[in-house]
Symmetry: C2
Subunit: 343 residues, 2 copies
C-alpha cells in the first residue's frame, strides 16, 4: 500500500470486510458490534495507516446510529410493510429504528418530529397511508419520504410506480384478447384512483381502444365494488341478458377490496369470472386477493422493498450522498384465476 495515498474509510471497510458505518462505529466505540468485529476493524485501520480526520471523526462521533420512522398511518395497511422493510434494512446497516406514529394528527406529528430531533436521530423516514403528496417536515437532518412523496420536488421520495403497474395489467388483459374494459376506482379525489385510470386510458388509446363508459368512483369498500358492477351491467345494451352481449369483457378495479366485491357480485348475477368477465385488483393484499373467489390477478407494489429502498437512500444521505426527487419503484404483476381461469 502506498503510504502517501490518502487512506479512506472505504479502504478500511473493504479490508475488514464490513460496511463503512461499521468501521466508523468500531473506531469511535459507538453502536453495537461484536468485540471480534471491532478488533478486526482496528487491525485493518492500523495496517492501512488510516487516520480519520478530525472533522470526519467529529461528524461520526456526533452520529446516534438511530433513525426515526415517522408514520402518519393508523390502520397500517400500507405503511406497515414500508416500516418493516425500512427497519429490516436499517438493522442490516446496524442502525436502530425509533418508531413514531402520528395517526393523521398534525399536533402529534409535530411532537414526534421535535422528539426525534431532540434524540439527535441521524435521519428520518416519513411514511403515509396514501400516495398523496404531503408537506415536508422541517428538520436539520436528512429525510426520505416513502409511499407518500414530499410535495417539495427537491426532497427525496420513493413511491410505487402506479403507471407501470397499470401498464402491466393492460398488457396482460389485452394479451388475453380482452377489448371492452371498464374501470372502477376508489375515492375520486385520490391519486391512487386517478393515476390508475389515466394510465389505463392512455394504454388503451395507444392500442386504438377506449375504456367502456366513464370511470366510476366511490370509496374503497367491497360494497362499492359490488354496486359498481351493477352500474356497469345496467349501462350496456343487452347487459346480462341471454340474447345480448355483455357491455364489458373485463373490469379493472383500483384495489383488491373493490375487485373482491366485484367478483362476488358478478357471480351473484350469474356471470363467470373470468369466462364472461375478467377481473383485476391492485395491492396484492393477501386476505383479499387470495380469499376472493376466484383469487385475483393483481399488482404487488412491493412495499417492503420500497421501505428498504427508502432506508438505503437515507443511509446514503447520512453518509453525505443525498438523492433528490421522486424515485418510482417497479411493481410486480401477479397473475391468478380472475383473469386466467383454472387452466
Amino acid at each position: 500500500m502506498d503510504r502517501g495515498a490518502v487512506v479512506r474509510i472505504t479502504d478500511v471497510a473493504a479490508l475488514a470486510g464490513v460496511s463503512p458505518s461499521t468501521v466508523s462505529k468500531a473506531l469511535n466505540d459507538t453502536g453495537s458490534l461484536r468485540e471480534s468485529t471491532r478488533a478486526r476493524v482496528r487491525e485493518a485501520a492500523e495496517r492501512l495507516g488510516f487516520v480519520p480526520d478530525a472533522s470526519a471523526r467529529s461528524l461520526s462521533a456526533r452520529r446516534s446510529f438511530t433513525v426515526g420512522l415517522l408514520s402518519t398511518d393508523s390502520a397500517g395497511r400500507f405503511s406497515l410493510p414500508v416500516v418493516l422493510g425500512a427497519e429490516n434494512a436499517l438493522v442490516g446497516g446496524e442502525l436502530s429504528a425509533l418508531l413514531a406514529t402520528a395517526r393523521h394528527d398534525p399536533v402529534r406529528e409535530q411532537h414526534h418530529v421535535r422528539a426525534l430531533v431532540a434524540r439527535r436521530v441521524d435521519g428520518i423516514i416519513v411514511t403515509g397511508r396514501t400516495t398523496e403528496p404531503r408537506e415536508p417536515i422541517k428538520v436539520p437532518m436528512p429525510v426520505v419520504y416513502a409511499f407518500a412523496p414530499s410535495s417539495d420536488a427537491d426532497d427525496a421520495s420513493v413511491v410505487p410506480d402506479d403507471a407501470l403497474g397499470m401498464r402491466l395489467l393492460v398488457e396482460h388483459l389485452v394479451g388475453l384478447g380482452r377489448r371492452r374494459i371498464a374501470y372502477v376506482g376508489g375515492r375520486a379525489e385520490q391519486a391512487a384512483s386517478l393515476v390508475r385510470y389515466e394510465t389505463l386510458a392512455a394504454e388503451l388509446a395507444a392500442r386504438d381502444l377506449a375504456a367502456v363508459g366513464e370511470p366510476l368512483y366511490g370509496d374503497w369498500s367491497e360494497q362499492w365494488g359490488r354496486r359498481a358492477v351493477d352500474q356497469i351491467l345496467a349501462g350496456g345494451p343487452g347487459s346480462g341478458r341471454a340474447d345480448g352481449a355483455l357491455p364489458v369483457d373485463a373490469i379493472v378495479f383500483a384495489s383488491d377490496q373493490l375487485a373482491r366485491g366485484g367478483c362476488d357480485r358478478l357471480r351473484e348475477r350469474g356471470l363467470r369470472v373470468p369466462d364472461d368477465v375478467a377481473v383485476t385488483g391492485y395491492d396484492d393484499w393477501d386476505v383479499m386477493s387470495l380469499a376472493s373467489r376466484p383469487p385475483l390477478t393483481t399488482v404487488d407494489m412491493q412495499l417492503e422493498r420500497l421501505g428498504q429502498r427508502a432506508a438505503e437512500l437515507l443511509i446514503a444521505a447520512i453518509e453525505g450522498d443525498p438523492a433528490r426527487g421522486v424515485e418510482r419503484l417497479a411493481p410486480r404483476l401477479v397473475v391468478r384465476a380472475s383473469t386466467l381461469g383454472d387452466g
Copy 2:
C-alpha cells in the same frame, strides 16, 4: 414546607404539575422537554429544597428514556395494534420506542435483543402474533410480554381475556334464545382455538346445554369457514331439508375470517343469517367483520389498550414497581346484524 422532612421527586412533580420522569429528565438535562418545562421543574425543586440523592441521580442519569418494542410478527395483524398502543402510551410518558421486528426468526430475535441491550433501553415490550406462551428473553432490564405471554409465570404478561370474550358471546346467543350451537375453530393446536371452545362448552354446560357435535378445527381461512358450514349442515338429521329442522341455530366461529366464510356459505345454501342460523366471529377485524354479509357480531380484544397497558406496566417496572404473572384484559362484545338481524 417542613425543611426537615425528606422532599421526594413526587413532591417536585406535583408542584411543577409534571410526571416524576419529567422531573428526572429536567434535573438531569436528558430527554426532550420544552425549556419552559425544565425551568418550571428547576424552580419547583429549588422551592422545595429538593436534593436528589447520589444513587437516585446516578440511576436516573443511567436511564436512556428509550424502550424496545420487540415484535415477532411479520403480518402485523395482531401485533401492530399492540405496538401502536404501546408506542402511544410510551410517548405520553416521554419515552421513545425502538422498533425491532424479528419475524419468527430466532437468530434475528437474538440479534435484536443484543442490540437493544447495547442501546441500554430502560425496558422491553415483547409482542407476538399468537397468544401461545413463548420463551422469555434474558436481559438485564424489565420486560413485559403483550398478547403472547411469557412461559415463565414470574414474568409480567398482558393477554386478552379470551374466556371472558367467549362468555360474553354465549350469554348473548343464549339470551337471544339460541340453543343448538356449533363451534368452528382455527388450527387445532392453538390456544386461540382451544380456550375458546373450552369456555363455550363450560358456559353451555352451566346452562344445561351442550355444543352441537364435536368442535371442528382446520385453519384460519375463509375457505375453511365455508367448508365447516358444509360439514355442520351435512351432520344433522334433515339438515337443510325443507321438511326437517336444521341441526344448529347458531355457529360460533373462532375468528372473523372463519365467520365471514361461514356467512357466505350459509347464504349460498339458501339459509338466512341470523333468522335460520346466527353467526358470531372473533377479533373485530374491520375488513372482515364489517365487509361480511351480514356484518358480524364479534369480540374486540382491545389490542391497542393491551399495548397501552403493557407500556404502563413496563414504566412502573422501570420506576421500581414491577408486576408479576399474567394480567387478562377484558374484551368488548360488539353486536351486529349476524345475530340481531336488521331490526
